[in-house]
Every structure is written in C-alpha cells, then in structure tokens.
Amino acid sequence: MRQPKIIIVGGGLAGLMATIRVAELGVPVDLFSIVPVKRSHSVCAQGGINAAKNLKGEGDSPWIHFDDTVYGGDFLANQGLVKNMCEAAPAIIDLLDRMGVMFNRTPEGLLDFRRFGGTLHHRTAFAGATTGQQLLYALDEQVRRHESIDRVNKFEGWTFLSAVLDDAGIARGICAMNLRTMDVRTFPADAVIFCTGGIGAIFGRSTNSVVCTGSAQSALFQQGAWYANGEFIQVHPTAIPGEDKCRLMSESARGEGGRVWVPKQPGDTRHAKDIPQNERFYFLEEWYPKYGNLVPRDVATRAIHKVVFELKMGLPGGPAVYLDVSHIPREVLNRKLEGILEIYEKFVGPDPREEPMKVFPAMHYTMGGLWVDNEQQATSIPGVFAAGECEYQYHGANRLGANSLVSCIYGGMIAGPSAVRYARNLEKGCESTSAEVFERERARQQDITDGLLHQQGTENPITIWRELGEVMTENCTVIRYNANIKKTVGKLAELSERYKKINLQDRTQWSNQTLNFTRELGNMLVLAQVIALGALERNETRGAHYKPEFPERDDANWLKTTLARYNLGKICLEYQPVDTSLIPPRERKYTAAS
C-alpha cells in the first residue's frame, strides 16, 4: 500500500497531538513551525485543563461539563462535538499523566483539581501555574521520541505561506519560507493539518505570544477556506497591562480564592492594605453571588469595564482593579500559583503574596477560526484539516477557562487520524499532481516577497501594526458600537492602502525578520476585516460580543454561525444554523442558579 504523506503546520498542543496520532499510525509527518515547537505559544497557558474526573465527590460528570461549556458559550457552539470532547476529557488527562506531566497531587497521590470560571465544580487539573508549558513539554517529548525513529521530520524555522491547490481546488501540499535563508519552497502532501493557534497580534497588545498573528489562517481564507464566527473575541478580565504585551494573571488565581475589588470610595489613595474590609467593593461577589469571582470571562470583563468607566470607581493612576490573593496562605500560593506570582513580581515589582495586584482586561483568545465540519476537523478546502485555537468549533460565543487546552488536544486527536483516512482514500496522491501546479504557487509567493523587497515608500510596518492594534482594541473588543465598527472598517481600508507603501528597512535575504513580519501584517489586515465585518452585522449581544445598542441575545435572528468567505478580493458573510439538538437554548444568567 502507498504510504500517505501528511504535513502538519504548527507545533502547539494541537499540532503535537495530531503529529503523535499520525506517527502512531505508522505514517510519517512533516511538522512545520515558525518557532522550535517547544517554544510554541501553548507554553503560556497557566491555569489548567478541564476534565470532569469527579475526584472531589461533587457529582461532576462529562454531561455537566458539556452543559457548562455550551451555556458558557451562549449556545453558539454546535453541540455534538462539544459533548464528545467533554466525554473524552477524563481519558485525555490520564494520557497526559501517563506521559509524565507533573500535575499537582493530593495526599493520596491522585490528581488535584481546582475551580475555574463558569462552573461550580473542581474540574481543572493543573501543574502549578504553568500547566500549558507542562503539557506542551510532555507532547514535545513524545514527538521527539517519534522523531528519533524517523517518523517525524521537523521543519522548525519555516513559515507557512500558502496551500498548493490543484486545478480542482484540492490541497496537494504547502508553500513555505525558510526564515533563515528566506528560500520559498513547496512541499507536496496528501493532507495538511493546520494547528497555527491564536490571532492576538491583530489587537497589538494581547496576552498572546509574538507569533500568534493568524497569518496562516488568513492566507488559507484568502485561498477559499471559510472562516467562522470571527467576531467572537475573548477579552480576559485580569491581565497586567504592558507596552509589549499584556501579561495574564490566570483565572486560577480566583479559582484558588482570589478576590476582585476596588475601594468603595472612588479615588481613595490609601495603600490597599490600609483599606478595611467594609470599605472595599467586591463587585463580582455582590453582583453574582452564586459564581462570585468565578463568573465567565465575558461577564467579569464587562463588570470591570462598568466599574472603571461607568461608575468611575477604578484605581487611581490608570484603569485597573485589584486582584487580591494576599489573604491566601503563602505555602498554598507557592505550591499552586507560583508561576504567575513570579510573573507579577518580575514584571511589576511588588509581591502579590503581600499586596493585591493591579489588573485590567486584555484581548486573550479567539473563539472564531477556520470553519471545520463537525466530524473530521476538515476545513472547506479538500485535504486541509484544522485543530486548536485556529479553528472555531468548541467554544461558541465565549470560551470557559481551561477548556482550550482540552479542545486543542482533542481536536488534534481527531484531526490526525481523519487526515490519514482522507489521504488513504484519495484516488490519486500528491505525486500525481503536475510539477507545474507547485511551481505556479511557488512563483506566486516568490513574487509577493520580491514585490515587498523592491517596493519603495515611506511607511513602516511596525507603525501600521500599532495603529491596527489600537483601532481593533478600541472598537472590536469589549463594547461594540456600530458607528465605531464602521469607522474601524474605514481605518482598515486606509491601513491596507498604506501597506502598499511600506518601505522595508531590511532588504537582505538572510534571516530577514522585517520581511516576514510584513508578510504576516498583510494577512492580519485581512483577518481584522473579517472580525470587524462580522461584528458589524451581528446586531445582538451574545457571549463576548456585546452591543449596548442591542443588549439582548436574539435567538430568532442570530442563533447562527457566521461564515466569512473570500471572493475575488471581497469578504462576504453567510450564516449557518447551529446544532442545538442536545441542550435547548435557555437564558444565560450568572446572577442566579443556571
């Protein structure tokens, strides 16, 4: 039998899991990643990974996990696969445990679980406060093991530029650029799996890593892949604002008992420690007595915005509120949260074990992503699959904390074997595709690169990127007004024009990071439009998408998936019904029991 050829683009949790699954089937994998896979963004995940193992005698179950996820996502997720994910989650934790992840333990030697937002159960397994790092390393080690027996061939330091599509529109490989030599080359494959992660860079400063630009997704979109629910952007309530990035203070701080508050007296300049309990406003606990500090992120973020901007009760000296863990015993903090407390100490200074941290919401995650079908993680381009944050399937209108890691791993587990199945069923493999198809795509990409290298002008890519981030953060995150979104669409058009006048200050052909960044920026500008246009159209409030002019969820008109398509340079929006066959939509309200 002919051996299929599989390419995986992206080596975060999703990509590594997909790689392991394909390699286990005895099929060799070419694994592409911008950064060495061990440095992928997944290392940033702090708080933990959800699975209803029910080890705390609370009667938790995969069904309740499923219900929390669908309800937390405001009923926008197709339910079938979410249910499957929640059912698979306990075994995923067991697998990670077998791979050697240093999860925190109970005295009995079992896995410990903490609470997270949007649930009333202890459902989140964790390894200190660097869970993503620990999971990624476990998968990285397994992939290295497959690499040592030549089942995996890594192309680290390569960036994906485009898919190679034959005349029937079927993917036959990829075109990629070597970030050292700047060589543009094509690589044949029968199936390609995309696991290229988040899009934070579109918002300038976010909690994401530098390479989370969404460039790969955008390039695929421009080649015809559908992009779903782009307007759903999660803003995390508690991050440390910074000029280069907003550093996350994980929800696990609240899961372990951390409390959010502001002084009752606006402008109170006393030191936090000197403000007595009864003069503090624990607004989440007051407004949402049942979930308290552990309401879902969209709810907490809007509450902080209200406190700071409407009630004008933010902390003096900049928009911020307190996130306080200083009442929790030091020993507990060090054992369970050290990773994030260290970040605060290193980047801000004061010891959060002693005094409350100052935090503010920041762009964090995209619920939207490449459209995939409900069974195979297959995108709308034949031969292209997707898993992880770059696809849209699991989180609806708002993702619950600690659900991403599990969805990445679960998605990778499905995408790997389904890509192999697809490849095995192909009538003709990629070797039958004519060399001309590959050369055509290579030449097209080389032309884009050469164009940028030779283009003359006055614009700087970083300046355009900063402006992009500002306008997107201002108008397409927490609070959305149609008039402002329209202005944003105009601004994006202006930036796209200015993009054509970029002057690369580096025209060399060796490790030219400016060239690569500028190529990514072009793709970011397109994806930004998808987000803005989707937000403009959707006249309702659902999950993270909040429009004061349309403050209610509108199931009659908007219980549907947004599908963006790219057609001759234009973005068109269509809609698809949502599968709500298992849990009928109900009002989402965290003030009382669900």
Binding site: V43, M102, T130, R144, R145, E156, D244, G339, D506
Partner: protein
C-alpha cells in the same frame, strides 16, 4: 524637561561570516520598558545615534513572559532573557550581544538546536505504549511532584550552557540543563524503568564527567532550577549504574 533617553549598544553581524559591528541607538524612555521594547523601537526607527540609517536588529522572542526560552542573549555581559530584563534595572548603555556558545545566525539570533538534539540523544521522554486509553497514570506522592515540577520548568534557554566553562569548542558537554532533565525522567515512576538508557547516554564523551563543578549554571537559570543538586544526583546514579554494569556486564 526633555524626554529621558536610553542608550542601547548592539553587537551586530548580518551573517555569521561578516565582521562584527557595534551600533548604538538612542531611544525614548518609558516606564516598564524591557529589552524587547527597546528592540521594537529600533525596528520602528532603525537610525543609529550618529544618524546613520541601519536595519532592524534580528532577535528571537515569543512569549514575552519568560516561559518560552526564545529570547536568551547577553545583556551587559550576563546571559539572560531579554523579555524580563527591565530597563529600569539595567546599567546604561545597555549592551546586547548574542550568546557566544552557539552558532550565530544573525545579530542576536543563534542556533540552539544542539539542546534539542541532546534531549533526543538522552531519551528525555516517558516511553508510553500508545495514546489509546490505558487508564490512569501511576500514583505519585506530592513530595515527588514537588521535586519534579521545578525541574520540568526548564525552558531550554541555554543560559546555563553559555555560562559553563566546560561548554566550549573543545568539549561536547551536554550542559546542566540536559543532566537535570535526565534526573527528572529518572525519578518518574515510569521513566525510572528506563533510567539505564539515559545514564548510558551521559557516560560517553560530552557526558556528565565533563562537568567540573564550577556551579555557575545555577546562578543564571531564570527558572531557579536546582541544577547543582541535579548534577550531584545524576552523578550518583551514573556511578552506581557504571558499577552495576561493570559487575553484571549489563544493567
């Protein structure tokens, strides 16, 4: 009052075979700046202090919160992570150089693939039977977890190799990071079953006997990993393993 300025000096080479050139940039100070924000400022306006047009500096960075390991470089002579190097705590002019123990790519970018290769050579993984559902993992005491977890936080930044006098052109010493990883996998209930393979890999040239106990590694590790403890522990394991294979002809 005029804006406060900061001065950054960068050691540059566009290609590994080119001569070194130092460039100095003057940047506008803002609170909470770190070395990465400086490099971004330079990229936005790559003009040297003496008014010459230059090019953006190549460097590696990803997480910007000291957890991915990408941004290691020499900052005022010290190997450390650029993202957590706050300008307020640095003496000026701030001197930036690439790590010197790894092949140079360009400017501040070096090739650290040796570390990943060595992880492969030393079998730093848990050899599971497969990803199918085989039930729960082995039980582990909280004490074992509390010893293992800090070791598992190694970000492969390479700072401990950079500072080590025994990592140089003449030896192939794997360095403290790898030794510490071997300790981690050898203490795991399943990893233990294959400890011998890892120890074998540390016995040849470039293995643990190359360590001359300078104890510099532990001082530069951004994750505070107890590297000297790891070296001592693995040294003991290697000796016992060597004796055992000596007497029995196998392990």
């Amino acid at each position: 009052m005029p804006d406060k300025k900061i001065i950054v000096r960068v050691k540059r080479r566009q290609r590994p075979d080119e001569p070194v050139r130092w460039e100095e940039f003057e940047l506008r100070y803002r609170p909470h700046m770190n070395v990465i924000t400086c490099l971004r400022d330079i990229a936005e306006r790559p003009i040297t202090r003496d008014g010459r047009e230059s090019s953006p500096v190549s460097y590696e960075a990803n997480c910007l919160e000291e957890v991915c390991g990408a941004c290691a470089m020499l900052i005022n002579g010290q190997p450390r992570q650029a993202c957590s190097a706050l300008v307020d705590n640095l003496e000026q002019p701030i001197r930036l150089e690439p790590l010197s123990k790894f092949p140079l790519v360009r400017d501040l970018v070096v090739d650290r693939s040796k570390m990943f290769e060595d992880l492969k050579r030393t079998h730093c993984w848990i050899p599971i039977d497969g990803t199918y559902d085989l039930g729960e993992g082995p039980r582990m005491s909280p004490a074992t977890q509390e010893t293992g977890y800090p070791l598992a936080r190694c970000i492969s930044c390479g700072n401990c190799l950079e500072i080590c006098p025994k990592v140089n052109e003449h030896t192939q010493f794997v360095g403290a990071a790898i030794v510490s990883q071997v300790r981690l996998f050898n203490m795991h209930p399943t990893g233990k079953l294959h400890a011998g393979e890892r120890l074998d890999a540390l016995m040849g040239p470039g293995g643990i006997q190359d360590c001359d106990n300078s104890q510099n590694c532990v001082k530069v590790c951004p994750k505070g990993i107890p590297l000297t403890e790891s070296i001592a522990a693995v040294n003991g394991q290697v000796i016992r393993h060597a004796l055992k294979t000596w007497f029995t002809g196998r392990d």
